[in-house]
């Protein structure tokens, strides 16, 4: 559906050249929810804007839904843009128009007759759950409702691709989740390809099938979300994964526990998918002369399966502890010994 080949975007300023996007290659399949994560300035915003021609690449080609967006101009580009919708961090609604008229705007642009427009708008209002708010103005809506209007507006012309530019970054956690649920629902119901950029791993974890991690204009890591969670390679990816697998206070807690248990070892286990359901701890206690103390655990749900982390304290004879850890490793469970107390 989307193919990005050898794309570079260089901005020239008085201070010299800035490579916003550097040698990016990307294939996104139809019906996929693809996430791009990175800190601000990583080039993800420029990258997503190249998908609908709001930015043009300095070099390389961008093909979306059969159109070479990086080449076409004028009415062809405008026509193509009707198939590549976008929602924004700050919603970008027209405050002078009511909810209904905001959603009708892209239909006016596409030249849909009035009667059909009204019908389509009513459908969309139902789809995004804004019944009863049709005649409200954006200033009377909450952030979540504004983004629902944004989504309805983006879906009006039955696009093939939906681009989400930090669409939930201005929303509170609960509203973020409801908007993300709506995006998944749309993806499943309409088979829409969704590309989103974010700096929140939570968003990637919750709805994306695949993720690309960007740093300094380059994609440093790419893969199915679960794989990236299971085995993050780049340092920046590890940091992003920690955002969701480890609650913020974990590090402090672990340090504290290491102090508390001067003997034995504190071990972090990572479970992926079905492995999470094995009675690993039971086996450990039965087979080895060790005591196991569960310190902290968490399971996260991703679109391709669950991912869990568990912190345990293993104590006993040094040899037995070593054997026990070998055993855990043989069970295809991610093991990281945090301390050798």
């Amino acid at each position: 559906m989307i193919s990005i080949k050898d794309v570079k975007k260089i901005y020239s300023s008085k201070k010299g050249q800035v490579k916003a996007v550097d040698e990016v290659n990307l294939e996104i399949k139809e019906g996929e929810i693809f996430g791009v994560i990175g800190y601000s300035g990583a080039g993800k915003s420029t990258l997503i804007r190249m998908l609908n021609g709001l930015e043009l690449p300095t070099q390389g080609s961008v093909i979306v839904a059969g159109n070479e967006v990086s080449k076409i101009k004028g009415s062809k580009l405008r026509k193509a843009r009707q198939e590549i919708s976008m929602i924004f961090q700050h919603f970008n609604l027209l405050w002078s128009r009511s909810v209904r008229d905001n959603i009708a705007f892209p239909l006016e642009i596409a030249g849909v007759p009035r009667q059909e427009r009204l019908k389509r708008v009513d459908e969309l209002i139902k789809l995004v759950g804004l019944d009863g708010r049709e005649d409200a103005y954006p200033s009377q809506l909450s952030g979540g409702q504004k983004q629902r209007v944004g989504i309805a507006r983006a879906l009006a012309n039955n696009p093939k691709v939906l681009l989400c530019d930090e669409a939930t970054s201005a929303l509170d956690p609960q509203t973020t989740d409801s908007i993300l649920d709506l995006l998944v629902d749309i993806n499943e119901r309409l088979g829409l390809t969704i590309v989103l950029i974010t700096h929140e791993m939570h968003v990637i974890r919750k709805i994306c099938h695949r993720v690309a991690v960007m740093e300094g204009g380059r994609i440093v890591e790419i893969g199915p979300v679960l794989d990236v969670f299971k085995n993050p390679k780049a340092t920046i990816t590890k940091r992003f994964v920690q955002q969701v697998t480890e609650p913020e206070e974990t590090k402090e807690t672990i340090d504290h526990l290491v102090d508390l248990y001067p003997r034995g070892k504190v071990v972090q286990l990572g479970f992926v998918g079905e492995e999470a359901e094995q009675p690993l701890i039971t086996n450990l206690i039965r087979k080895f002369q060790v005591t196991v103390n569960i310190l902290q655990g968490k399971i996260s749900q991703t679109q391709n399966g669950s991912y869990g982390t568990l912190f345990i304290h293993v104590d006993g004879d040094a040899e037995e502890v070593a054997k026990a850890i070998d055993y855990i490793q043989s069970q295809q469970v991610g093991v990281e010994v945090i301390s050798n107390a």
Binding site: R81, Q82, S85, N92, F105, E108, I109
Partner: protein, 222 residues
């Protein structure tokens, strides 16, 4: 009682002068609104980072606007006499005042339009572009409606300035309340005529401000 307080006021000529002032104001406000909006849009669209970004065109329009905004109105009327004679055929009467009124006020209003347009969130324009909107659609359905409260409050201020300009134009023969106050009031030392003309001008200004505020509040959904 009115005749006691204003013994020298001839009500029929006062009425006639009021109508002349209203006529000059109305026509020049309409023309200023259109011309100023066009100039303001051009200033905005050709500025850096906008749809028709063009430094040369922007500088030319900007210079034109700044020059005509800077010339004191009373001097502008005199400077424009040849142009007015060519256009209208005379330089006496209300119609002869119109070119100077419009050329004096439109650049002033154009700057206000430009400021109003700059206050529109760039993201909204980007959103319209991302939907495949043409530039004309962006102008008519995004830029103008989104800046309408600013455009209306701007034209209110300009209209009030124009009422003042018509009085100045009156002094050099354009008719209206300014003409009456100057010729009948000042030159014949009939202060009651000047006072009455002032009161009527104040009423006109208050009404313009009231209508402008009303429309602005009604339009502003922010």
């Amino acid at each position: 009682m009115l005749n006691e307080w204003f013994p020298n006021v001839k009500w029929d000529s006062m009425w006639e002068a009021t109508m002349e002032t209203l006529y000059m104001t109305a026509i020049s406000v309409i023309a200023t609104f259109i011309l100023g909006a066009i100039l303001g849009l051009l200033l905005f669209l050709t500025s850096k980072g906008n749809i028709w970004e063009n430094v040369a065109v922007n500088k030319v329009i900007s210079a034109f606007v700044n020059i005509f905004r800077s010339i004191p109105f009373i001097i502008l009327i005199v400077l424009l006499i040849p142009f007015t004679k060519f256009l209208i055929g005379t330089m006496i009467g209300e119609d002869a005042a119109l070119p100077a009124l419009i050329i004096g006020a439109a650049p002033f209003y154009a700057r206000m339009v430009e400021i109003g347009l700059r206050e529109i969130d760039k993201g909204v324009i980007e959103a319209a572009k991302s939907m495949g909107a043409k530039t004309s659609t962006i102008i008519w359905k995004v830029l103008l409606p989104e800046s309408m409260p600013a455009l209306v409050s701007g034209i209110t201020v300009t209209a009030i300035a124009l009422v003042g300009y018509t009085a100045m134009a009156g002094v050099i023969g354009a008719g209206g309340l300014g003409n009456l106050a100057y010729l009948e009031g000042f030159q014949r030392s009939r202060n009651d005529v000047t006072l009455m003309a002032t009161i009527i001008i104040l009423i006109i200004v208050f009404i313009i401000q009231f209508i402008g505020d009303l429309i602005t509040t009604k339009l502003d959904k922010r």
